[in-house]
């Protein structure tokens, strides 16, 4: 039982990342009709916002320590970050330690601008083109973004730890009556799950309870009629692209302490997130979220040694297997609307 609870928790945090990326993907598809294969790259760029802020905060003044030597035997160059010089060791170290949460604020404007630039500079030229063209151009863009990040940051993963206060794990088992040490879960993963739930809640509330959101939903349902009412729906959809980029970016920022960011991390999530969107139903926001969590939990269970021993290789195919079954029995996905991606 404790193993099952642990795998459910695991699935929920993995599902959080899938759900956040899939939410942005389906938002873009629902508003702009674009199949955005560069969405995984936006997730990766978000994680690198955390890396970048951490590096900026570590910008340092250099002094020579004649007492110590470097690896070549030369006097050691000692670096003292400016934040420590400016704010003192206590506050300075605290700022450095909390660089990932601070990166949320840093990433919002940057990801928004990247989203706007991407939509205005490239995506808008492909609105009326077939989905195959959109997939090709956005996939190409993803590779370009990846290579740019690799050029500046290298190919190796870059450790980006959570604040010291949030490192460690919660003995979840004790809370629900199991033996101590049987259901242990890292604090940061629990925070990631809560964070994802909050972001998803904000996105839904924004679409449900604001005039802007109402217009966007109306545009998703019938773009032409909304346009005929004199509303500049294109401008709103452009902003929705930026909004989706911010959601993907924030998912990436918070993911950085879970797995050290590398230039390829977006691609790792992209294909799975597309499967999530298709299973949830193209263009369906609740579908994307539900399918994200569902597939995350299933993938987690399929990785248990007992399951793998019983059905070898199931851990590698479970998501695709479920996708095939759902698409065969329910071609529009779990919550897909009629007429979307249908001839």
């Amino acid at each position: 039982m404790d193993a099952i609870i642990l795998q459910i928790l695991n699935g929920l945090d993995k599902g959080s990342a899938y759900a956040l990326i899939a939410l942005g993907l389906t938002l873009i598809f629902g508003t702009l009709g674009v199949v955005n294969f560069a969405h995984g790259a936006l997730f990766m760029l978000g994680a690198f916002c955390a890396v970048t802020l951490s590096r900026l905060l570590q910008t340092a003044s250099v002094t020579i320590d004649p007492e110590r030597t470097d690896f070549l035997g030369n006097p050691l160059k000692v670096e003292t970050p400016y934040v420590i010089e400016w704010f003192g060791p206590e506050v300075g170290s605290l700022i450095l330690d909390w660089s990932v949460p601070l990166a949320i604020l840093f990433a919002i404007p940057i990801m928004g601008l990247i989203g706007l630039a991407m939509e205005r500079g490239l995506i808008k030229h492909f609105y009326k083109r077939p989905h195959a063209d959109q997939i090709l151009v956005t996939f190409g863009l993803a590779i370009v973004l990846q290579e740019i990040v690799k050029y500046f940051y290298g190919a190796n993963p870059i450790p980006t730890p959570a604040p010291d206060a949030l490192v460690g794990s919660l003995d979840f088992g004790v809370l629900v009556g199991f033996d101590a040490g049987t259901v242990i879960y890292p604090y940061w993963r629990l925070i990631y799950f809560v964070f994802a739930a909050v972001v998803i809640g904000v996105v839904f509330a924004f679409l449900q309870f604001t005039t802007f959101g109402m217009v966007v939903r109306a545009g998703m349902a019938d773009r032409e009629t909304v346009g005929l009412l004199g509303i500049n729906i294109d401008r709103r959809f452009t902003l929705m692209f930026a909004f989706a980029a911010i959601v993907a970016g924030l998912a990436g920022v918070m993911y950085a302490p879970i797995n050290s960011p590398n230039y390829h991390m977006g691609m790792d999530f992209l294909v799975l997130s597309f499967v999530v969107v298709v299973v949830g139903g193209m263009g369906s926001l609740p579908g994307a979220v539900a399918a994200g969590f569902l597939l995350g939990v299933l993938e987690s269970f399929a990785s248990m040694p007992q399951v793998v021993t019983l059905i070898p290789g199931i851990n590698q195919i479970i998501i695709y297997l479920v996708a095939i079954i759902i698409l065969l029995t329910r071609p529009r996905g779990l919550m897909g609307r009629k007429g979307v991606m249908e001839a």
Binding site: N156, P157, G181
Partner: protein, 448 residues
């Protein structure tokens, strides 16, 4: 009308010649009439550096390329000469190889066997490379080694750790300086016994590919030999990025030790996940829970950050070694590039030097002459102590380093500390050891 054949005998001779020509390998037809494949004829000779320039091991590949460029510089008489001054063989004079200036071409393996074979083939066919070297993956090494054997080219493997490279997939034209899975197990086991005792329950998470299998087998057999019990062996997909669902079952097992048979990004992520789940803070069976990483590299340790502190592993070479060869290489590389070399850079540099030296000693670029010069070759001064290129399997035998993540690093490069230099005798095995069974070197192929 001319007479085609003067006699029945001429007809038979012509038929036989045509038959031989048709039966000969046709993948490298351009050199069909030379003495051996890509025999250098001008004032220069071309070496092919086939390294991952893209993909997950691109940083390691970039370091390998830096090392090769440094080796070419030193072979042509440039720079500070690097290891030429410490190398026990004095055949190389800094005047190129056999008086020919060394030039090079590069290829991108992408850490994919098919891409690596394509780039190696291109370097051999189009660029006339006389030798191919490099790589950061055993799958790639085995694939390229087989291609070089067919082509009649020498292959000097880069970073490849699987037993199979010089085991079941060994080839006469291929040579490996890097250590292997068996050696890691043999070096680690006694150190682990001293540090953690002889009664341990080990849980293995193993990357689901060739290197993972041989390394898991080697470490498992070695640790079972000191009394450890294997609780579970789980294969993890090579493409996995989040290992939480593989780490979680460890908590519910009786294991008190986790062996992560992962390399590169896999190792960085699995170790990070294991630490996040508090494994290192656990006490199981009255013992502190421990994690072991059989194959370490400094670049990986950098990626895993503070998580590597106190964790044991093995490595082929480390820049902090105090011998003259290591010091000379670290100085040469560090002065040129501003940071110390990785073990991948070291093994690639040494392989380029060993090839050049073998050609000089043989007095010929003919691959079969080079094979003869390298087989059974004993040398020193290259950073690993006295070393033998064993004739039976083309594996280098030398001391192996057991390292541990450093608790209090002095600088950003000071991530691993050497715990023990395991003597070569302790990691030597018979050529027909079961972990290396099933392979034959076969005959040398000069190509042409």
């Amino acid at each position: 009308m001319g007479k085609l054949y003067t006699s029945r005998r001429d007809l038979l001779k012509g038929g036989a010649a045509a038959g031989i020509a048709l039966a000969a390998p046709t993948i490298f037809p351009s050199s069909a009439w030379a003495g051996f494949t890509n025999e250098p004829t001008g004032g220069s000779v071309t070496l092919g550096f086939n390294v991952p320039q893209s993909g997950p091991y691109a940083d390691e590949g970039a370091d390998e390329l830096r090392a090769y460029e440094l080796a070419v510089e030193h072979l042509n008489g440039g720079g500070d000469g690097g290891l030429l001054s410490t190398f026990s063989s004095k055949a190389l004079k800094g005047t190129g190889i056999l008086g020919k200036k060394v030039e090079f071409v590069t290829g991108d393996t992408q850490t994919k066997s098919d891409a690596a074979r394509a780039s190696a083939r291109s370097m051999i066919e189009k660029d006339g490379a006389i030798m191919v070297t490099g790589g950061s993956s055993s799958g790639v090494a085995v694939a390229v080694q087989a291609l070089c054997q067919e082509a009649g080219i020498i292959f000097m493997a880069g970073l490849t750790h699987s037993n199979d490279t010089t085991g079941k997939d060994r080839r006469r034209n291929g040579f490996r300086h890097f250590f292997n899975s068996y050696m890691s197990g043999a070096a680690l086991a006694p150190v682990l016994k001293n540090a953690y005792g002889a009664e341990r329950n080990a849980y293995y998470l193993t990357a689901d590919y060739n290197w993972g299998y041989t390394t898991e087998q080697a470490v498992r057999e070695a640790t079972e030999g000191i009394g450890w019990n294997t609780v579970e062996k789980v294969l993890t997909p090579l493409a996995a990025t989040d290992f939480s669902s593989y780490i979680a079952p460890v908590l519910n097992s009786d294991a008190d030790t986790l062996v992560l048979v992962h390399y590169g990004g896999n190792m960085v992520n699995s170790l990070t996940n294991a630490v996040q789940f508090g494994l290192r803070d656990r006490v199981v069976n009255g013992k502190d829970f421990q994690i072991v990483v059989p194959l370490y590299s400094r670049l990986m340790a950098k990626g895993a950050g503070a998580n590597v502190k106190g964790i044991f592993g093995s490595t082929n070479w480390h820049w902090s070694l105090p011998d003259e060869g290591s010091k000379a290489f670290t100085k040469s590389f560090g002065t040129k590039y501003g940071f110390p070399p990785s073990q991948a850079a070291h093994t690639c540099y040494v392989q380029a030097m060993l090839y050049a030296d073998a050609v000089e000693r043989a007095g010929s670029f003919n691959p079969c002459a080079v094979v003869e010069a390298l087989e059974g070759f004993e040398f020193d001064g290259m950073g690993n102590g006295p070393t033998l290129y064993r004739a039976e399997d083309h594996q280098c035998f030398k001391d192996v380093l057991v390292v541990k993540g450093k608790e209090n690093p002095d600088n950003e490069f000071d991530l691993l500390e050497i715990v023990e230099v395991t003597p070569v005798d302790q990691v030597t095995y018979a050529p027909d050891h079961p972990q290396f069974a099933g392979g034959e070197l076969g005959a040398c192929n000069p190509g042409a």
